[in-house]
């Protein structure tokens, strides 16, 4: 079964035209892959569709702006995959 990270990495590669082999679980979407907030909307759209969830981007952004969270918590891809798994689990609960 394809892991959440692999699915997300494929989405990012296809959406942002980034070579798939440069995307690792440790990659930071913004700092390492150079994805800006507008491009991330396309990624969020694809993730929402693929996983049947709604990534809470506004909440995450607010938490980062308020200093309650770091961008690493949401935008390092292994962490992003973990957040997606949580959202999928919450939806199925």
């Amino acid at each position: 079964m394809t892991s959440t990270f692999d699915r997300v990495a494929t989405i990012i590669a296809e959406t942002c035209d980034i070579p798939r082999d440069t995307i690792t679980p440790e990659s930071h979407a913004i700092d390492d892959l150079g994805i800006d907030s507008l491009d991330f909307l396309d990624i969020a759209f694809a993730i929402d569709k693929a996983f049947g969830i709604k990534l809470p981007l506004e909440k995450w952004t607010q938490e980062v702006n308020d200093g309650k969270a770091t961008t690493e918590q949401y935008f390092v891809l292994s962490n992003l995959a973990a957040r997606i798994d949580e959202l999928v689990a919450a939806k199925g609960a």
Binding site: L38, L41, A44, K54, L55, P56, L57, E58, K59
Partner: protein, 156 residues
């Protein structure tokens, strides 16, 4: 339409909240300074204004769906196609529908028809935020009333 003021939508024809869709009407003016340059002796509605017309149509739909609490701003235009010339005096029928509601953003598909034929279409992305100023919200409510928004949707 009042091109110089970017007031592009004349009338709400139908707002279907359950379908997350809207139909509006807009008449391209016979005269405008814009047509003096675009193009001399051959006036055409600029493609960017047709895109803006689809964006404003999508915007009114979103404002309605968000109960006049948030303001959408155009963020991305994809797959915009200008399929035929639009000329002064033509009446446009503009349809827009939400295809995805994300967190803080919305995507729509919109199209413009003239004389029953598809003139242009696009997929649009908007970011939306709470109205940054009460004056802007009040202005949007005033314009909404002018273009025939159902009263109960404007004031809840």
């Amino acid at each position: 339409m009042n091109l110089e003021y970017f007031h592009l939508i004349d009338r709400i024809v139908e707002l279907r909240r359950d379908e997350r869709a809207i139909t509006v009407e807009a008449r391209v003016p016979q005269t405008s300074t814009i047509f003096e340059g675009h193009f001399p002796g051959y006036p055409l509605m600029p493609g960017v204004l047709l895109i803006e017309t689809m964006a404003q149509t999508s915007g009114w739909l979103q404002i309605a769906l968000m109960d006049f609490q948030r303001m959408p701003f155009l963020a991305a235009v994809k797959e915009a196609k200008m399929r035929s010339f639009v000329t002064p005096g033509e009446t446009l029928t503009v349809d827009a529908a939400v295809i995805h509601e994300g967190s803080g953003y919305t995507m729509t598909e919109a199209k413009i028809k003239t004389g029953g034929k598809l003139a242009c279409n696009a997929t649009l992305t908007f970011r939306h935020v709470p109205f940054p100023q009460p004056e802007l919200r009040a202005h949007m409510q005033r314009v909404a009333a002018e273009i025939g928004f159902p009263e109960q949707m404007i004031h809840g």
